[in-house]
Amino acid sequence: MKQNVSTQIVLALAILLSWSPGFAAQVGEPAPTFSLPALASNMENVALGDFKDRVIYLDFWASWCAPCRQSLPLLNAMRGDFERDDFEVVAINLDTDPALGRRFLKHYPVDYPVASDPQGKVAASYQLPNMPTAYIIDRTGKIAQVHNGFRPSDMPGIRSEVTTLIGGGRPHED
């Protein structure tokens, strides 16, 4: 009997240890923090903590992601409509070769900080469900909205969410 119990414990431990699911970043949870080298900006590092007390649109993109050709210019234009103390777009490029991301930015230049995550460590910590994925983070550092994919017609909704959050926000819809 004792042996059977120990066998079951060993097996249960082996299965539990081998099961390593990724937990996706969810609405209402604190956004996982990061500090990454900048891809192309006047900053050396881009850290989420650099944008405390602001509403953040955290955009994960890559040069091979077709919708990003539309999203980057539109996000850059939207960024210009808000005060810097209120809102910032922070982008994380996921190209395994950062040079590809830099080349992309030459064609689609942006004014907001862009970090480089060639190994996808931050992407893994957020467990992105799709490409592109963006997270709208409120002033307290919590995820207010997860935005899967991108279509230009999404922009009014994004702008509205950001405006609401800047103006004090509404409770999270958990």
Binding site: Q3, N4, T7, V10, L11, A14, I15, L17, S18, W19, S20, F60, A62, W64, C65, A66, P67, L94, D95, T96, G120, A123, A124, L128, P129, N130, M131, P132, T133, G149, F150, R151
Partner: protein, 73 residues
């Protein structure tokens, strides 16, 4: 169960766990998104072919989605 059998089963479970996460994550699809990885390298030509099939043979669908393996949107 003998101790050796227990060890064997535990090692087998641990080894099999190596296959637990073999999927390509959305952010790892850079190579899959390359043009040469697309089922149909020329989307326009593939669309034309589909149209011919639809018009002449009354068949449609069952082909691939547009683009490569980016899985975007």
């Amino acid at each position: 169960m003998k101790t050796s059998a227990k060890c064997l089963v535990s090692i087998a479970v641990l080894l099999m766990s190596g296959c637990a996460q073999v999927g390509v994550q959305p952010w790892q699809r850079g190579n899959l998104a390359r043009q040469e990885m697309a089922w149909t390298p020329d989307a326009l030509r593939a669309g034309f072919g589909d149209h011919v099939l639809f018009s002449k043979e009354g068949s449609t669908g069952g082909v691939n989605a547009g683009g490569g393996g980016c899985g975007c949107n």
